[in-house]
Structure formats: structure tokens, C-alpha cells
Subunit: 396 residues, 2 copies
């Protein structure tokens, strides 16, 4: 892979945010690692070395099996796959179908796939006993939701001893795009070898159907809003206007386990934007000194522009406004958000919602950082009740 | 890459046609090459070794520069790229724009790109003096057409000393699909290491817009017809009904230079189907013994089903019927085509064309095999007049 060296950056306390990096070559072959003043060449072996320490979490909910299989085809073999499913168990046991598909696929490919169900009572008990019952609902099981699945995936990655963690959606139509995302995660970690690195992908484009033709839109409808307001927040903090944030709600992202365990997770549609906010709160040194850092350590956020268009199964447009509201809510309710920016956010909501605008954004549920979990207890409880769901953990 | 070992095959004389092979993993990482009874694992290094001896020919005609750049992003670095352009030189010099784009891109990526123009008079003179003036028009320049560009690309690959030759269209929207095709070419050559191997890709699907939704069609409209009639031809030859042909007009294909120089090229839309017919004529041993073979040598045609959907710039639907007619024409006019199959072909044409059906298909222009060219003369003339069009041949 050949990737542009970032040209811009913003430094806020211990947090370093790099500008968007362009990809010049998906596959630069094996050989030497090289860089000039503009481009870094990451040979295949450098990327594979990182992938061997990486888990890719794929949250699944009632997705077509053909699409899930295509996503697995795209994930490079050295990666550990963790499939966190919240699909129905009755009247049709979709989860069982997913397990069978994975079992079949893993047998053919020797792929390392761990399959867990979000409502597995063993996991719920492990959460309860390890001091993280926030994630449980009234039935004592893990709540439904993608953020909750991501939290489970994060812990599974830690359990498996991985160093890096990436997320890929299960509804991607392009195995080649999945392949690209994972290589870009690895490239981001290779270029930023610190213990606390966050890699976020900005899609090159998203094909939409406009009057029976394909049109390649540069920006998603919700990312326009979250990027703008996050940039306004940075502008407020630094006093210099900036447009550096391009990945405010990047579903395709990866981070070191070391960093992941220190971050809060917002529920619903706000998880990605809140990660951004939480990085600023924890490491920006704005209203309190950064914590969880070794002397001299910094946190790096890099943003890579993928080359493939993003094509995923269309779930309808109903939730776009809710997604925007959720993203803006976590910015609004952050302790870093000044009154002037709160006013801008409300103007945005009123513009989109009209008379239905609330007095202030509905606050999102925020899960505390996983560092508060008693990990040895969690893993012990989980392992004790762990049943082999599937071929599960392949050989490493 | 992990690929299914072919389960079916047809053997006709020295020609071996393998059934469609499924891809199980785009990237199986580095390490050992392995196979069990069903799947072969081709590690990255095996594929890179082949790519270093491979040229990828990209025919271009007035394509948007963004799309061409995306195609180059997808071609792995070890490959030599040969861009054969037939874009206009006036009133706007599109070719010059393409050269500049390539020059810029090659500088950033250290990519090996040779750019030639189809109407380059040096090339025309080289063809004339080397005994292949069939390709020249009344002005003494190379005729317009994709087949003619492919012939030029083939000779350029030979000139550069390459062993393998692959074709990729310049209007592909998915760099990841281009990347996949090239890896599949390399995998096909690795699995079939003979000197005469042909690798043809069958698209997984082709997204179409149907009532404002994306629909993933399995088969292109023209390939249905050419596959069916080619299978009818094989059935006639062997006496056993077969459906083995899935890539009758596969634009995405690759072949060894050794084989490429022995095959005829049909003009217009018939080039891919005619390659199939010509393989049967030359190596099937049906009406005469195979030629151009070393003792015991055979010719292998393998067909791989790609995983990414095929998305290319829509040029309108006007030419689909012409494409079908062209494909069927080369089968009809083959000396191998029995009268009964000619009747089937005419029934097909009458069904599609109605009252506009001709008495028999219009014959396509067929260029003789390149083995009739005096290669030393061609290369000498070309090299003598060769001007550096661009960064051109990068370091190898």
C-alpha cells in the first residue's frame, strides 16, 4: 500500500489529529519499506505483521448470509475475526444459520472466526460480576444495539490477546472494499506505532441512485453535520479555524486495544462521534490534565480516505435525521461544548426538525470506559461458561 | 488468495477447459503454499512472483481521468502497466492529458507505466515493415478499435520481456475489483504453470438499477448467449452435453505471452469469444492436429468467479444486441460450426432481431496470429522511432 504522509495536523494537549491521507496504491507488493517527503510505501509484510495482532469485529443483526460471507472473503487471513451477532433465535434461529455459515466457511478457509451472541447469558453474568452491569437490561442480558456489540467485540479481542481492533460492517456489498479498509487500518498502525492510535476511514464516495443513474456522492448526509460541528468545537478550543475532521462518524475505524479500553462508548448512533469527543476530553488537556498516559506518550488519530466507493445494503432513509441528532447530542452534552456552539447545534436541529425540534438534544446513554471492568474476573467467568458455539477460535 | 480447485473439466485434444472456480479469500497472507482436496491457498509471495513477470494492458478511449487513476490504484505495484490510448488528439488533446495524469501518478507511486497511442505513426511503420499491415487503415495508421489496442498491448508486453499478459478495462469504478482481477490472473497462472495458460474471469454479479434499487444480476445480457452457444458447440464436438463455458465474452482475461502470440484476434465486440473459438481450432485437434505445441504440452483454460461486483461506467445499452451478434458471428463462421448449430444461431438472431435479422451473421474482421509478425524487425523499428511519451517504462 502507498499512502500520503499527512500534511496537516492539529495538536490538542496529548492528542494529535492528522489530516486526511490519500491512498495511491492498494498493493505495493513485498520488499522494503520506504518513504519520501510525500508518500510512504508499506510493503505487504509490514501490513501482515500488524494483521496478525489484529482482531476485526463484525457486528451482525439479521444480515443476509451471502453478504456476511462476502465480508469474510474480504478480511485478510492473518486477522482474527470476531462476529458479534444480535440476530433472532426464534421463531427462526438466524443465529444458528450464521454459526453454520461461519463453520462451513472457516472449514474451507482455515479462517480464525469467533462467533458470539449478544444475548449469551454467560457473557451477561461475566459483565455483572466484573462490575459493568451498565450494559445489562432489565432481563439481566446485554442490551441490544451496535455499541453494546462493539463493547463485547472489544473485550473478546482483549481476551484473545490482540493488540489492534478494527470494525467492519456486515452489510458491505464489496469484499474488495472490506479488504481495503483492513489494509488501511494496518497501514495506519504501521505509520503511527504508538500504543494509543486511532485510525478512521473516510469513504472515497458513496454511490446513490439519482434518476436511474449512479451518482458518486462525496459525503454522507450525516457526516456533513457531525464533521462541521466537531470542527467548530476544535476551532473554539484552539482559536484557529480548522476543517481537519473528516471522519466524525466513521463506522469504519480501528484502534489499539490499549486506547480502546480507556474510551467511553455512546449507545445508538452516537458511538463514533462520541469517541472523538471522548478523545478530546481524556487526552486534550483542556479542562484537566490527560490521564492514562505514560511519560511523553501521545494519542494519534489518523484519517485515511479509502479508494473504493462504499456500497452497503440500504436500510431505508428513516434514520438519517436520528443519526445526525445522536451525533450532535454527544457534542452538545460534552463538558467541552461552549454555549456558543450549543446555540449553533440547536440552530442546526431547528433547521432540520422545524417545529419538532426539542428544547435541547436528547442525551445519549454513555457507557463508561472498559478500564473500569475487572478484566481477570470477566475473562475467568466468560471462559468458565464458554461453550464452543462454532469452530470459533481457529489456530493462530 | 484461496481458490477452489476446479471440479469439472472438458478435454478436447490438447485443450483442457476447467469449470468455474470460486474464490474463498481475497488475501490469504504470506507463508506456505498449501492445498487440500478442495481448496488451494496461494500465499502473497507466490502471486507477487508471477506479477513481476506480468503486464497489465489498459485500453483507453476518452475515459474520465479519475476512473483511469482509480484503475491504476488497483493494479498491484509489481505489475508493468501498458496503457494503450486511442483518445482524441484534437481539438482537445485528451491523450496529452492522459500522459500528464500518468506521469504525475507514476512519480508519486514509482509505478511502471508505458503509455502508447494507437495512432502513433512509429508503430504503424513497425507493423507495416514487420509484415502485419492487416492492422492498418487507409491512412496507413493502426485501425481504431479495442481489439487493435489489445494487439498493440500484446506486442508491447512481449517487447518488455514479460511472460504473462492481462487485460483490465479503464472504466471500472472499483479499484478493489481491479486488484482482485489481477490477483486472480496471477492465481490462475500459479495453479496452471504450463507455458500456454488462459485465465478468464466470470463476474460475481453486475449491479443494475431496477426501479431505483440496486439489483445484482448474475449474468450479463450478452454472455448468456455466447456461453450458451459455445457450450452447444462443445456438446456437438464431444457428444456429451456440457455447461462448462461461463466466460464466453470475458473482457477480464489474461494469458501467457507464449499462448497470446499463437491466437487470432477478432475485431469489434468479438475478440473474447473468438479467442475461445480459436483455442478450439488451434488446439482441439478436431479437424487437424494441434500445432505450436511441444511434445506432451497442453493448453489450459481456467475460469475464476470474481467476488466483487462489476461496476463500470455505463455507456448506454445501444450496443448489447450488436455485441451478441458479433459473438455469435465468430462461432457461426468458424469452420468447426456444424449446420445444426448454425441453425440454432440463426434462430437466436431472428428471435432478438425479428424482421431485421440478416440471412447470416455479418462476418467479423479476423486478424491473423501475431506469430506471423517478424518480431525482431517490429521491435527494432519501434525502438528506433520510440519517443519518450511519458515516464513510460519505470524501473523494473
Amino acid at each position: 500500500m502507498r499512502i500520503e504522509i499527512p500534511r496537516d495536523f492539529e495538536r490538542i494537549g496529548a492528542l494529535q489529529i492528522f489530516g486526511l491521507q490519500k491512498v495511491y496504491e492498494l498493493d505495493s507488493g513485498p520488499g522494503r519499506r520506504e518513504r519520501d517527503s510525500m508518500i510512504e510505501r508499506l510493503p505487504s509484510d509490514t501490513l501482515y505483521d500488524i494483521m496478525r495482532e489484529m482482531a476485526i469485529v463484525v457486528p451482525v443483526k439479521e444480515e443476509r448470509l451471502k453478504l456476511i460471507e462476502g465480508v469474510l472473503v474480504g478480511i485478510p487471513s492473518p486477522c482474527q475475526v470476531i462476529l458479534v451477532s444480535n440476530s433472532a433465535r426464534s421463531p427462526i434461529d438466524r443465529f444458528h444459520m450464521e454459526q453454520e455459515t461461519m463453520e462451513n466457511f472457516s472449514r474451507f478457509t482455515d479462517k480464525k472466526v469467533l462467533v458470539v451472541h449478544q444475548k449469551d447469558p454467560t457473557l451477561a453474568r461475566a459483565f455483572a460480576e466484573a462490575g459493568y452491569s451498565e450494559i445489562l437490561d432489565d432481563d439481566g442480558l446485554v442490551r441490544s444495539g451496535k455499541a453494546e456489540g462493539m463493547i463485547m467485540g472489544t473485550l473478546m479481542a482483549k481476551w484473545l490477546g490482540k493488540k489492534y481492533l478494527g470494525f467492519v460492517d456486515s452489510d458491505n456489498y464489496l469484499p474488495g472494499a472490506v479488504h481495503e479498509y483492513v489494509k488501511e487500518y494496518a497501514a495506519g498502525f504501521a505509520m503511527n506505532p504508538g500504543a494509543k492510535t486511532f485510525v478512521r476511514i473516510s469513504w472515497h464516495s458513496k454511490p446513490k441512485i439519482v434518476e436511474s443513474n449512479l451518482f458518486f456522492a462525496k459525503w454522507g448526509r450525516s457526516s456533513v453535520h457531525s464533521n462541521h460541528i466537531l470542527n467548530r468545537l476544535l476551532t473554539n478550543i484552539t482559536g484557529f479555524e480548522t476543517e481537519i475532521v473528516k471522519t466524525g462518524n466513521a463506522g469504519e475505524h480501528a484502534l489499539t486495544l490499549d486506547l480502546a479500553l480507556t474510551l467511553e462508548y455512546a449507545a445508538g448512533y452516537a458511538v463514533e462521534t462520541h469517541h472523538f469527543i471522548n478523545l478530546l476530553q481524556e487526552y486534550g488537556g483542556i479542562d484537566r490534565p490527560p490521564r492514562n498516559l505514560r511519560p511523553g506518550e501521545r494519542v494519534t488519530l489518523c484519517q485515511i480516505e479509502s479508494r473504493n466507493p462504499h456500497m452497503h445494503a440500504s436500510k431505508g432513509d428513516d434514520h438519517v435525521e436520528d443519526m445526525i441528532d445522536a451525533s450532535l447530542s454527544v457534542i452538545y452534552h460534552s463538558r467541552l461544548c461552549p454555549a456558543s456552539l450549543k446555540a449553533e447545534i440547536m440552530a442546526n436541529i431547528r433547521m432540520r426538525r422545524g417545529d419538532n425540534a426539542p428544547a435541547e438534544p436528547f442525551p445519549m446513554r454513555i457507557y463508561p470506559a472498559l478500564s473500569q471492568i475487572d478484566l481477570p474476573t470477566f475473562f475467568e467467568r466468560w471462559q468458565a461458561g464458554f461453550r464452543r458455539h462454532s469452530p470459533v477460535v481457529g489456530s493462530s
